[in-house]
Symmetry: C2
Subunit: 139 residues, 2 copies
DNA sequence: ATTTTTGCTTTCAATTCGATAGCAAAAGTA
DNA sequence: TACTTTTGCTATCGAATTGAAAGCAAAAAT
């Protein structure tokens, strides 16, 4: 399951964990859209295949960026939630969004994500705070 | 050469361009270590294969994150330099570094990158300014 | 004139990706 | 209770990508 790290560089090590085409999109949906189930995460604009989603969730769980739980009245459905480590990816996600907005317009028509283009540090904090308060519903 | 974008999401679009295991490491070396030639970039801790480096440089050039030039006294050696678009990836690189430092210690021994863990906005600015002033040597 | 360096390209086996289908257990419905 | 549907996956398998190694032509160095 786990791969070797290519070096001790923190940038390289972060890439070894979330440096693929899907992991940060899964975390985007969890963090910004508060998606919590396999099904919710499946239905994104980019349409991740279930086999890939399954593999990524396992990987993210093994690195403790997310954890799995259930709600009492539903024995089937898994609830995936971000850990503190995962929530702290907010600045990376937001910088990706800002950079994409400013620099990709030439190559692709870029959607506007509401409220993600104002004061950077304020946004980073409030995204994390929002997720934290949502987490309280699950103790 | 160029792929389709999976959606109009700026996060997804940025991932479509630099969301692989190597591109951001190449940009790290150019931006932080001021590497400029194929050979210099080849000799990183992570040892990128020449076929991959060649392909990535072409891709990054096609998206105008880097450009290729030469110095007058050397007809062989290509000089790769970051464009403004490329330099503006500094915040992403730095957030990757900060996150890796804080969150990957449990799984990998993480090197200290000198001076990259102080005031965030100061660092982001000075990394870009440093690169800009180096660029002046090439007009 | 010869050797070395540089910036690649080619090859090819191995790995990963990803669309589709399948499936068991739980939940919902009649 | 029987049935249908939903959910959260796993299995399959061809296609695409990766990456180690070797090769190579042009330029530079000796």
């Amino acid at each position: 399951m786990k791969k070797e790290f290519r070096s001790g560089c923190p940038i390289s090590s972060t890439l070894d964990v979330v440096g693929d085409k899907w992991s940060l999109l899964i975390i985007r949906d969890m963090l910004l859209k508060h998606k919590k189930t396999f099904k919710e995460i499946s239905y994104s604009d980019e349409r991740i295949a279930p086999s890939i989603l399954s593999a990524r969730l396992k990987l993210l769980e093994s690195y403790k960026l997310i954890f799995k739980t259930k709600v009492p009245d539903n024995k089937k459905e898994n609830i995936y939630l971000l850990t503190e480590k995962g929530i702290r990816l907010a600045p990376i996600i937001i910088e990706f969004s800002l950079w994409g907005n400013s620099n990709m317009g030439e190559f692709n028509e870029i959607d506007d994500i509401e409220g993600l283009n104002s004061d950077k540090s304020y946004i980073m904090q409030s995204v994390q705070d929002n997720y934290d308060s949502m987490l309280l519903d699950f103790h």
